[in-house]
């Protein structure tokens, strides 16, 4: 049970007012790999699809979610988290096809699919009897 005491402001409430260009949060990410693709799931709540910039350049995947500042009305009583942009990069070793990368943003979660190039997909070799 969390009790709110009105007089005491939590230390987070005094956090730096600056944000945006330098204050990034690192989203939590799950990464899966199947035969055909790599799939990333990143928690980026509070953004919109338009606010998300996704870049893939020579093996580096960059997730950047701009989150508009939101404030609750009135006087803050409890501040356990801060709102800011999300940013994280990944080195992707698998040979992916950049033109086939797809992403969707739903319920605050970014899902990125990076299909592998045809030539690196495992191939089943038929064995002649």
């Amino acid at each position: 049970m969390t009790e709110i005491t009105k007089t005491e402001a939590s230390p987070l409430a005094n956090a730096e007012p600056t944000r945006g260009t330098e204050n990034y949060f690192s989203p939590l990410v799950d990464v899966f790999e199947t035969e055909h693709e790599l799939i990333f799931f990143a928690d980026m709540p509070g953004a919109t699809p338009d606010d998300i910039q996704l870049r893939y350049d020579r093996g580096e995947l960059v997730l950047h979610g701009k989150v508009k500042p939101r404030t609750l009305p009135g006087q803050p009583l409890l501040r356990e988290f801060e709102v800011g942009d999300f940013y994280r990069t990944f080195a992707v070793n698998e040979e992916v096809d950049p033109s086939q990368i797809e992403a969707e943003y739903k319920l605050g979660v970014l899902k990125v699919r990076l299909p592998k190039r045809e030539e690196v997909k495992p191939r089943r070799i038929a064995i002649k009897g």
Binding site: F25, F32, L72, L107
Partner: protein, 150 residues
């Protein structure tokens, strides 16, 4: 600052402050996880809460939770309970390289700073952010008293 200081010392202080700031920022980043913060002493999403004259507002980040996976209750007149769950991400025939996102059921209970009207509570889920607005009960609202003149 009123006190005069040696230039070297004020530089040192500034550097120390910057270090402190960087460190606390790092700490904030570590705390960012949905179910990870030990300081709160509960499992459950982190909350921001504010109040104005008419209402109390609470906000939580619940990425990946569908609307029907979240329940909001008002218990009595001054307790807010948020319950929910997030389903684990499972993939057929896939290797998991990294799993940082948590998947558990959670409950977060909060004693509100004022009595609220349980019939006037709105909760909205948008892009993984849950926002709850609880109207204060009429007795809990500040009342402006007219000051009589002479």
């Amino acid at each position: 600052m009123a006190m005069q200081m040696l230039p070297g010392f004020s530089h040192f202080l500034r550097e120390m402050r910057r270090f402190q700031r960087d460190f606390s920022r790092l700490e904030d980043q570590l705390d960012r996880g949905l179910w990870s913060r030990a300081a709160v002493g509960t499992t459950g999403p982190l909350l921001n809460v504010s109040e104005d004259a008419e209402s109390v507002c609470a906000e939580a980040e619940l990425p990946g939770c569908k609307q029907d996976q979240i329940e909001v209750f008002v218990v009595g007149r001054n307790q807010l309970v948020i319950k929910g769950r997030r389903e684990a991400q499972t993939m057929e025939k896939a290797v998991c390289h990294r799993q940082e996102r948590g998947f558990t059921a959670f409950t977060r209970a909060l004693t509100l700073p004022a009595d609220v009207n349980p019939d006037q509570v709105e909760a909205k889920l948008e892009n993984g952010v849950l926002r709850i607005r609880l109207a204060k009960s009429p007795e809990a609202r500040p009342r402006k008293i007219a000051v009589k003149g002479e």
